[in-house]
């Protein structure tokens, strides 16, 4: 098993872990940060899957701008999930 094959196993697992955290966290801001981390890991996965174009787009759009939009929306509403 080469290093690249190992990466192909580790990074998907990390992606899934980050998204599980994003779904489970009660603090929405933390959940959004988890989504951003997931996006960055996804971008890394795209890069090692030989798709640098998509990796740049995912890093720029998914990890940066989407997170910004989410944070703006959370600032305008409530931060905690349970709050009514």
């Amino acid at each position: 098993m080469t290093f690249l094959e190992l990466l192909h196993i580790i990074i998907p697992i990390l992606i899934v872990a980050a998204s599980v955290v994003a779904v489970l966290l009660k603090d929405l801001l933390a959940a959004v940060i988890a989504v951003a981390a997931m996006s960055l890991l996804l971008s890394l996965e795209f890069f090692i899957l030989q798709a640098p174009d998509v990796a740049i787009a995912q890093a720029g759009v998914g990890a940066c701008l989407t997170t910004a939009i989410f944070i703006i929306a959370i600032r305008a509403t409530k931060r905690m999930e349970g709050e009514v």
Partner: protein, 159 residues
């Protein structure tokens, strides 16, 4: 969003030109290296969003009206579709790459196989990259700007 501290504002205004130039570089070299209109547009829009965060949405909206920005976005869209229609006029079909092989603007064809290539290649692709890049920069920035401004005004409504 309100203004941030002076340190943040200074750093943001220093970093902004570099990020912008990097975004434009990615747009311009879209047909040669990884990148293109969308990716570069996203990077440049992130740079604009950084200015927005540092200086606050009120200040930014005072400087740039979103109506003026949406005109630019329309222009990007019109440019893109106009290049496509030019393909119909000068070439064979809608979206035809009519500049390739003409040795005119971006018209040369690179050597087959791997190697370095001139920026003067790609036919209409770089032109489309510019149109889409303009559109994506303005579009994404307008989304963030309008939402940030609305968030601030909603908060004020509550108070």
């Amino acid at each position: 969003m309100t203004k941030m501290s002076k340190i943040v504002r200074t750093i943001a205004s220093i970093a902004f030109p570099f990020a912008m130039i990097y975004g434009l570089y990615v747009i311009a070299h879209g047909h040669l290296t990884p990148g293109g209109g969308f990716q570069g547009g996203a990077i440049a829009a992130s740079a604009c969003a950084m200015i927005l965060v540092a200086f606050g949405s009120k200040w930014t909206l005072d400087k740039i009206k979103e109506k003026r920005l949406s005109v630019f976005e329309s222009l990007g869209g019109i440019g893109f579709i106009a290049i496509a229609l030019l393909g119909l006029v000068f070439g064979a079909a809608f979206f035809n790459n009519f500049l390739t092989g003409s040795n005119f603007l971006f018209g040369t064809i690179p050597a087959t196989g791997s190697g370095l290539a001139d920026i003067n290649t790609g036919g209409v692709l770089p032109l489309m990259n510019f149109a889409v890049g303009l559109k994506v920069i303005v579009g994404l920035f307008v989304i963030v700007l309008v939402m940030a401004y609305a968030a601030t005004s909603f908060k004020e409504d509550k108070k």
